[in-house]
C-alpha cells in the first residue's frame, strides 16, 4: 500500500506468449434445435399479462496461458494430480502473488473484442471462504474495480421452420474480472475422505458477467456459443465446456413485463451449451408454475441434473456466505497504458499497452460471417455453420480459391458432403482425409462436365478412404467419366423403356412425373455417369414417337 509502489504494473513475470493459433479443440455443438418462442414456456392467464423469463449469465473462462495467474506453474488439463503446484499455489506462508502478463493481455483483448471500457487502473481483492481446495482461504479476484466494464455481446440465432432466419440480439456485459481458479476436491465416499488436486488452483480466469437481457435457454445458449467463438478467435480461452474451460452459471427469474424483476435462482453445474438451454428452460417453467400457483420463488442455488433434465436445490449455503472482501495488499493497482501515456524509462516487459492490443485483435466471428456472405454470396445460415466449425472457414476459402466452381456450389459440397463425413466419424476439419486441394480438383472435374454429380459423390467417397489417388485418377480407374456417346445412352434408354411398359403407358396417358422415374433408372444403369440433360432429351424423344403396336401384334 505504499504510495511509492502505486502507479505502475509491478512484478509482472515476463512470459513469452506461447499461444499457438491452431486450436486443438473442435466443437461439435450446434444451435439449439427449437426456436425461442417454442422453448419459451407459456402459461396464459386472463387477468394479467403473460409471465416472461429473464436470464443473466456468469461465465468463468479459463485463460489460455502457459502459466497460472499469479505463479509460474504450468497450466495443463490432464497432468497427474498435484504435479503443477508452486509454493504460492499451495499457499505456503510467505509466498506472494506475481501477476502474469499474459493473463492481463487476454482479459484486455477479450474486453476490447466485447466493446468494453478498459479500466486503466484496476484493483485486486480477496474473497474469503473456507474450502479444502482453496488453500489460502481466499480467492484473489477483482470485486471493486475490475479490468473491463460495460461491453456488449452481439449474437444471432436462427429461427423458423427451416432454421434459416437470422435474428440478431444483444446482451450487455457488466464487467470482466481477473480471478484465480480453485483446486479440485474429489470425494471418496467409500473411504470417506476428500482428495485434493491443486493443479487447477490459481489458474487464471476471466469472469464475465452478462446482464439479464436474455429471455430463454436458447438465447442464452446462442450468446454463450458466440462468446465461445470470440474467445477462440482471440485465443484467450479454448472454450471447451466439457473440460471446464468455460463454465456457465445462469441467473434465472420470471416476471410480468412492466413489473419489477422476480426473485432469481442461480443454476450451476452446466457443462454444455445444450444443457444450458435445457436447464434454463426447465427452471423458467418451474418458476412460472410456482408463481402461477400463487407460490414464491426462493432465492437459492440450484444444480442441473442432466440425466433427469431438472434443476434441484443445492445444499450449500453459499447464498448466505459473507465473503469478507478485502483489498489484496500484496498486489499494487494494475495500471494499463497506451503508447502515448507510458511513462519514460519503463521496462517494456512490465507494461501492457491497450492500443497495441486493440490493433492486434484478429477478425471476430461476426465479421467473418459478414465477409463470407458478401464475398462469396453464400447464405447467412451457411456462414454460421462455417464459422462454428473450427477450421472450416479456411477450408472453404481454400477450396474456393483453387476451383473454377462457384462458391455457391462449393458451400454445398463443404457443408453437406464433407462436414457430413467428418461428423459421421467425429473428426475435426484438420483431420479431414480430403484436402481442400483434392476437393477443388474434384469440383473442377464436375464443373468441366467431365463427371456427373452422382459420380463426383462416388469419387469423394474414394478420396475419403485416403488412398492418395487424385480425383482424376479415380475417375479414370473406375470409369466414372461422363457418358457422352449419344447412341450408347440411347441404347440404355430404350432398354429402360422396354422394361417399364406400365410407366410408359402412364406417361403416355399424361402423367409426366413418371419420366423422372425412368431418368432415375437410366442413371442407375449408367452408375450416374450419363449426362442427365442428355438422358432426359433422349427419353423424351423416344417416348414422343408413336408406339409400334402394329409391328408387335
Amino acid at each position: 500500500m505504499a504510495a511509492s509502489s502505486s502507479g505502475r504494473l509491478a512484478g509482472i513475470c515476463s512470459l513469452k506468449d506461447k499461444i499457438s493459433l491452431g486450436y486443438s479443440n473442435v466443437f461439435c455443438g450446434s444451435f439449439a434445435t427449437s426456436a425461442c418462442h417454442h422453448a419459451q414456456p407459456q402459461i396464459k392467464r386472463k387477468a394479467s399479462p403473460q409471465l416472461v423469463g429473464v436470464v443473466g449469465l456468469e461465465i468463468h473462462a479459463q485463460i489460455y496461458a502457459s502459466t497460472k495467474l499469479f505463479s509460474s506453474s504450468q497450466v495443463c488439463f490432464s497432468s497427474p494430480p498435484n504435479s503443477s503446484v508452486s509454493f504460492f499455489d499451495a499457499a505456503l506462508p510467505g509466498t506472494l502473488p506475481v501477476l502474469n502478463r499474459r493473463c492481463v493481455e487476454a482479459a484486455v483483448m477479450t474486453g476490447l473484442a466485447l466493446g468494453c471500457t478498459i479500466n486503466k487502473r484496476s484493483l485486486f481483492d480477496r474473497k474469503h471462504y473456507f474450502y479444502a481446495d482453496l488453500p489460502a482461504g481466499y480467492q484473489i479476484t477483482q470485486q471493486r474495480l475490475p479490468i473491463a466494464v460495460g461491453g456488449r455481446l452481439s449474437y444471432s440465432h436462427l429461427v423458423g421452420r427451416k432454421r434459416n432466419q437470422v435474428v440478431d440480439k444483444n446482451v450487455r456485459i457488466k464487467q470482466i474480472q481477473l480471478e484465480q481458479d480453485s483446486g479440485k476436491s474429489l470425494h471418496d465416499s467409500y473411504r470417506s475422505q476428500t482428495l485434493i488436486d491443486l493443479n487447477r488452483a490459481g489458474v487464471g480466469l476471466m469472469e464475465l458477467v452478462l446482464e439479464p437481457d436474455m429471455s430463454c435457454g436458447e438465447e442464452a445458449a446462442a450468446a454463450v456459443r458466440e462468446l465461445q467463438l470470440i474467445l477462440q478467435a482471440l485465443g484467450t480461452c479454448q472454450g471447451n465446456m466439457s473440460e471446464g474451460q468455460l463454465r456457465v452459471d445462469a441467473n434465472v427469474s420470471v416476471h410480468r413485463p412492466g413489473e419489477p424483476l422476480g426473485v432469481r435462482t442461480e443454476v450451476k453445474n452446466i457443462n454444455s451449451a445444450r444443457f444450458l438451454a435445457r436447464a434454463i428452460d426447465y427452471e423458467l417453467q418451474r418458476q412460472m408454475a410456482v408463481v402461477e400457483g400463487g407460490g414464491t420463488v426462493l432465492n437459492e442455488t440450484r444444480a442441473f441434473d442432466f440425466k433427469s433434465g431438472q434443476t434441484v436445490p443445492m445444499r450449500d449455503k453459499e447464498g448466505l456466505q459473507d465473503y469478507r472482501f478485502m483489498p489484496e495488499p500484496n498486489l499494487p493497482p494494475l495500471i494499463l497504458y497506451e503508447r502515448e501515456t507510458v511513462p519514460a524509462h519503463t521496462d517494456p516487459r512490465q507494461v501492457v499497452l491497450v492500443d497495441q492490443l486493440q490493433e492486434q485483435l484478429p477478425e471476430l466471428p461476426r465479421v467473418t460471417r459478414d465477409r463470407l456472405v458478401t464475398t462469396y454470396g453464400i447464405l447467412p445460415e451457411h456462414s454460421f455453420t462455417l464459422v462454428n466449425e473450427d477450421g472450416l472457414v479456411d477450408y472453404f476459402v481454400g477450396v474456393v480459391q483453387q476451383t473454377r466452381a462457384e462458391p455457391k456450389k462449393v458451400i454445398g459440397w463443404v457443408l453437406n458432403d464433407l462436414l457430413g463425413l467428418l461428423k459421421q466419424q467425429c473428426l475435426t476439419v484438420s483431420q479431414s482425409p480430403v484436402s481442400p486441394n483434392a476437393l477443388a480438383e474434384l469440383l473442377d472435374l464436375l464443373e468441366a462436365g467431365s463427371i456427373s454429380s452422382p459420380a463426383a459423390k462416388l469419387v469423394l467417397q474414394e478420396l475419403w478412404k485416403g488412398s492418395g489417388k487424385s480425383a482424376k485418377h479415380i475417375v479414370e480407374e473406375q470409369g466414372l467419366g461422363l457418358m457422352r456417346d449419344r447412341s450408347e445412352i440411347q441404347q440404355v434408354c430404350r432398354r429402360v423403356i422396354d422394361s417399364h411398359p406400365d410407366e410408359v403407358s402412364a406417361l403416355r396417358a399424361g402423367n409426366k412425373n413418371v419420366l423422372n422415374k425412368l431418368i432415375g433408372q437410366v442413371r442407375k444403369q449408367t452408375k450416374g455417369r450419363a449426362d442427365p440433360q442428355l438422358v432426359r432429351a433422349i427419353l423424351e424423344e423416344e417416348l414422343s414417337r408413336p408406339p409400334f403396336h402394329g409391328e408387335t401384334t
Binding site: 510467505g94 469478507r324 495488499p329
Partner: protein, 566 residues
C-alpha cells in the same frame, strides 16, 4: 559499508580499543562489522573463529531464550567456506564488492558481510530449517524455500547462527507471547543494571520489547552482528530501542517480503537490528532491491556504498512532532528527547516543532487494519497442507476449527475473530473503510510536513525504558501493543523509513532510545543523521559479566537452545 579510513584502523577483537569494545571483554566478540574480517587482510579474527565465538556466546546466554533454533552445523560449514575465500583472496587484489555480485568466483571474499554471523527472526522462511513463528501451528514446519532477504545475506557469505524467538506470529510488543516463552533482555544481566541497589535478577529481569525480541537480544548479547526482524507497527524498533541497538525499519518496498510470514502485508517490512548506523547502512545496501517475487518492491534509490564519517547536518531540518508528547512518556525519555534536539540544533540543524494531527488515531486504526489482514492471512493455516493438524476429523469444518484452536494462542485467535468481524459486509464500511481513510490522513500528515521542507522527524521510540517482565504481564497483549507501538506505529501506516538510536542509559541502567523518521526512500539520509548522533551521544556498550553462567544461575532458568536437524 565502512569507509576506507575506517578500514585502515583495524582492531584486534576484544582488546577494548574503540567505542563499545570494552563490552566484549570476555573475549567473545567485538561490536561492529567494521572490526570483522576484511578482504584486505586487516581482520585479526578468522570467520571460523568469529562463528565459534558467536555460537559460544549464544550458548552462554541461552537463558535469554533469544533463539528458537541454533543452526550450529550449518554455521560452522558456512564459516569455513568464508574462511577458505579469505585465505585464497589474500593473494587477490581486494576490491570492495557490491551486493550485485551474487556469485563471485570462489576464492574471493564476497563483500562486507562475508563471514559475518547473523540471526533471523523465526518468521522468515529458511529452506530446510524449521520456521515456527513461535506457534504450535508451525512447529515442525520446514519450509522448502528461503526468504529473499535471508538468501541475499547467505549469498554474501554471511553465516546464519540461528532463528530467533518472537511473539506468536509477531503479534505482540514484548516478545512474551510466543509458544517458546518470553525473551529476556540482555541488559537485565548487565553490570549497568544489576549493580543498582535493590535489583533482584531472579525476578527483576526486563523484557526485550517485541515482537522481534529474540533478534534484538541476539545482537545485544553479542551472539550475532546483525539480525533480521520484521516491523509492522514497531516490532523491530521497539525491541531495538529497549535493547540499546540501532534498529532500522526501511521504506516499505525497499526490501523484499518474499518469505516473510506476514502479519500485516501492507505494513510489514523486514527490519535490521545492528550495533551501529554504519552496520545498518551496510546491511541495507545488501538487502535492498527489486524482487520479482514481491510485486510491492520498489526500485532502490541510488545510495552511497557507505556512510561518510564527516556528516554535515547544517542543512538538515529536524521536525519535533508535538503530538508525540504523549501521556505516559517517561520523564527520562522526554529529557533525552530535549537533549538530542538541542544537540542537533547546536550541530547546525534547524529544529522546529511540527504537527501530525492524525497520529493520535493511528493505534485504533492500526488495530482494525491489522486484525483484518491477520484474519485473512491466517485463513491458510487450516491443517491440510502443512503445520499443525488436529486429530478431530468429524468434518472438514470441525478439523479447521480444532486445528485453529489448538494451533494458535489466544492473542492470534482474538485478532482473527476481531478481523473477521471488521470485514463482515455490514461492518466493512464502518470499520475497515474508515480505518483506511484515517490511514491516508496519517500518511498525508507526514507528507505535508516533509513537503514543507522538514528532512527528518525526531521522536521517542518507546514511552520509557524496558519494563520488568512481572510488570509487563499485568496487562494483556492488546493493551500492551496499543501502549508500546504508539510512537512507532504511524510510520508503518505511511510506509516511511525510521531508525531508532540509543541515546543514554536510564537511571535504572537501561537503554533509552529516540527515533528518526525520514522521507520515503531516504533511508540513507536517515542513517547519516543517526550516525552523526551516534558519534556524539557515546552510548555505553553493554557490560555483560565475565562469567555469564553466573547470570544464568541467578536467572534461575535453564538455557533452552534447540539445534536444528539438517
Amino acid at each position: 559499508m565502512v569507509s576506507p579510513g575506517q578500514r585502515q584502523r583495524h582492531l584486534d577483537l576484544g582488546t577494548g580499543g574503540g567505542r563499545g569494545c570494552e563490552g566484549a571483554s570476555s573475549g567473545a566478540v567485538c561490536l561492529c562489522l567494521c572490526r570483522c574480517p576484511r578482504p584486505c587482510g586487516g581482520g585479526r579474527v578468522s570467520p571460523t573463529e568469529l562463528c565459534t565465538r558467536c555460537l559460544e556466546q549464544v550458548k552462554r546466554t541461552g537463558f535469554l531464550n533469544a533463539f528458537v533454533t541454533v543452526t550450529e552445523e550449518q554455521a560452522l560449514r558456512q564459516a569455513s567456506e568464508a574462511e577458505r575465500r579469505f585465505l585464497e583472496g589474500r593473494s587477490l587484489t581486494a576490491s570492495p564488492l557490491t551486493h550485485r555480485d551474487r556469485s563471485p568466483p570462489p576464492g574471493k571474499p564476497r563483500g562486507p558481510l562475508d563471514g559475518i554471523p547473523f540471526s533471523v527472526k523465526d518468521n522468515f522462511c529458511t529452506e530446510n530449517i524449521e520456521t515456527t513463528c513461535a506457534s504450535h501451528m508451525l512447529k515442525g514446519y520446514f519450509p522448502p524455500y528461503t526468504a529473499t532477504v535471508v538468501q541475499k545475506l547467505l549469498d554474501q557469505g554471511a553465516v546464519l547462527i540461528g532463528k530467533t524467538n518472537l511473539d506468536e506470529f509477531a503479534m505482540g510488543a514484548g516478545s512474551t507471547d510466543g509458544v517458546f516463552g518470553p525473551v529476556r533482555n540482555p541488559w537485565s544481566y548487565s553490570a549497568q543494571y544489576r549493580e543498582r541497589p535493590g535489583v533482584d535478577p531472579r525476578s527483576d529481569w526486563v523484557i526485550t520489547g517485541g515482537s522481534s525480541g529474540g533478534s534484538a537480544a541476539a545482537v545485544a548479547s553479542l551472539g550475532s552482528f546483525l539480525a533480521l526482524g520484521s516491523d509492522s507497527g514497531g516490532s523491530t524498533r521497539n525491541p531495538g530501542a529497549l535493547c540499546g541497538l540501532v534498529a532500522l525499519k526501511p521504506t516499505y518496498g525497499l526490501l523484499s517480503r518474499h518469505g516473510l510470514i506476514p502479519l500485516v502485508n501492507s505494513m510489514d517490512v523486514p527490519g535490521i537490528l545492528v550495533r551501529s548506523a554504519d552496520d545498518a547502512a551496510t546491511a541495507l545496501g545488501v538487502l535492498r532491491g527489486l524482487d520479482v517475487r514481491d510485486s510491492t518492491t520498489i526500485p532502490p534509490p541510488a545510495a552511497p556504498p557507505h556512510l561518510p564519517d564527516d556528516i554535515d547536518i547544517a542543512r538538515i531540518r529536524v521536525g519535533i512532532p508535538k503530538e508525540y508528547h504523549a501521556p505516559g512518556l517517561s520523564a527520562e525519555t522526554l529529557c533525552q528527547w530535549g537533549r538530542v534536539a538541542d544537540l542537533l540544533e547546536r550541530g547546525g540543524a534547524s529544529v522546529e516543532q511540527v504537527s501530525l494531527p492524525h497520529t493520535q488515531h493511528s493505534i485504533v486504526c492500526y488495530h482494525v487494519l491489522c486484525t483484518a489482514e491477520v484474519a485473512s492471512n491466517m485463513a491458510r493455516f487450516d491443517g491440510l497442507q502443512y503445520g499443525h493438524r488436529s486429530e478431530v476429523n468429524d468434518s472438514t469444518e470441525a478439523l479447521y476449527a480444532a486445528t485453529c484452536h489448538e494451533g494458535f494462542n489466544d492473542v492470534v485467535r482474538r485478532r482473527i475473530l476481531a478481523g473477521n468481524y471488521f470485514l463482515l459486509k455490514r461492518n466493512y464500511e464502518r470499520y475497515f473503510m474508515k480505518a483506511q481513510k484515517v490511514r491516508r490522513l496519517i500518511a498525508q500528515d507526514f507528507a505535508r510536513v516533509f513537503r514543507d521542507g522538514v528532512d527528518v522527524l525526531l521522536t521517542p521510540t518507546t514511552l520509557g525504558d524496558a519494563v520488568r517482565y512481572c510488570d509487563f504481564i499485568q496487562e494483556d497483549n492488546r493493551t500492551r501493543s496499543a501502549q508500546e507501538d504508539v510512537f512507532t506505529q504511524p510510520v508503518n501506516m505511511a510506509g516511511l523509513p525510521a531508525v531508532t538510536v540509543p541515546t543514554a542509559l536510564s537511571s535504572r541502567g537501561l537503554p533509552i532510545s529516540l527515533q528518526l523518521i525520514g522521507r520515503a526512500s531516504h533511508d540513507w539520509q536517515l542513517l547519516g543523521v543517526a550516525k552523526w548522533l551516534e558519534q556524539r551521544l557515546e552510548f555505553p556498550a553493554i557490560q555483560l559479566p565475565q562469567d555469564v553462567s553466573q547470570a544464568e544461575r541467578e536467572a534461575g532458568v535453564p538455557g533452552r537452545v534447540r539445534t536444528s536437524v539438517l
